[in-house]
Symmetry: C2
Subunit: 244 residues, 2 copies
């Protein structure tokens, strides 16, 4: 009679890219598991999360790249999810503790949420421990030494912009807006903020916390240029002139 205990799945956020912005807990988990999974490019196996965490993964720990196709096809993506979640489930069912690493925070615009859902749908009963991480937008605010949100203000976070009108809707009730993945519609985003009735400041940051980082509080000056994939924008309502 073989008594096998199921392994624990650790969802680990490794922060925005600088290995030093990993938490002590993330490092501890990577030293304690038997296998580390990371979503990667199907073309070249590249994974920013793996690049970030590499120095903290002991050589005896197996590293498995999970390829995700760059496609809009729900069918192909669902297929990839089932295959990749299957690989994770198999390791756990063999009694191995496994980490699934993601850039930033694992529950903020991350593939980890889908992994959890797919595992649950597959009937996987493994215990799950999630280790939160520092997001790129917190790191961008730090690079700029500018408050992200304070006092009685509100903060809105969106991933890309489907329609520039969305900016106006958010601006109506939020004092600060973070737009992740702003590379594709950068000019439209800048123009939508410039068109707001009140004055807003507009900062942009790309490859935050990496050696290649660029950050500016004058995002408008970048209009017309090609933006890096890892670009985000922080728009802040400017305080009204002191009238009282």
């Amino acid at each position: 009679m073989s008594q096998k205990t199921i392994g624990t799945l650790y969802g680990v956020g490794v922060g925005p890219g600088d290995p030093k912005l990993m938490t002590l807990r993330a490092v501890e988990v990577l030293r304690g598991v038997s296998v580390v999974f990371a979503a990667s490019s199907p073309k070249n196996g590249y994974s920013l999360a793996l690049n970030t965490a590499q120095g903290h993964i002991p050589p005896e720990v197996e590293v498995v790249r999970l390829p995700f196709p760059m496609t809009d096809s729900h069918e192909l993506l669902a297929q990839a999810w089932r295959a990749n979640a299957g690989a994770v489930a198999q390791a756990l069912e063999q009694g191995r503790d496994a980490a699934f690493i993601t850039i930033g925070d694992p529950l903020t615009y991350s593939t980890y949420g889908y992994l959890l859902r797919t595992l649950r749908d597959m009937g996987c009963q493994a215990p799950v421990v999630t280790v939160p991480g520092v997001t790129a937008y917190h790191a961008a605010a730090a690079s700029l030494n500018t408050p992200l949100v304070e006092s009685r203000q509100s903060l809105a976070v969106i991933s890309g912009v489907a329609d520039p009108a969305e900016i106006a809707n958010l601006a109506a009730i939020s004092d600060n807006i973070v737009i992740m993945k702003a590379y594709r519609q950068f000019d439209q985003i800048v123009e939508a903020v410039e068109a707001l009735p009140e004055k807003w400041s507009l900062a942009a940051a790309s490859q935050v916390s990496l050696a290649e980082e660029k950050a500016t509080t004058e995002a408008g000056a970048l209009k017309g240029q090609k933006q890096h994939y890892l670009t985000l924008v922080i728009a802040k309502r400017r305080p009204a002139p002191q009238a009282d």
Copy 2:
């Protein structure tokens, strides 16, 4: 002729409270400075940030508690800010590197933004380096193993609620709402979410990442109870039933 170099100010987020959720960079900074400043209760000197970081502050580093009065008086607060920023400026002008530590992320609802502003107003020219941290709301989502925001959704973060109508306004354009400091108006917040036209899930977490942490995906059941000061609520729009 004495040539004195001005020190560097490090604004360091120490994460939600579990010392293991500090970043490697935060630990490194605390080991490299000569003085650590922390906002604290004027009554008993208590500082959650200091409690969190204590184990990573070498004994030879000076620790200075900066008392902030619990008051709504702008005059008293401004006075405290000038005195406390003055203490930080003095250390920097003596050429000492100083860390100002805050719980969570230093630029998210934190006193650090005010410190920077006050130092600037005082003419302090010290270089500033900000180290981002893990926020309580990311740690709460991790404890609940529940996505905070994914795919094309948006996230709104507010600190307390002035008017429950604010919840309805945010719900009109956000798929996920985090309400920090939800202890005082907890019941009104729950009732405002329950009154929304669509179905929303409602999680609550208090003292996230600490030994005393409580987290539940059924925040409604906590109505009528006294909530801890460190309580936050995460409201999520429930997906519509699969009609297609």
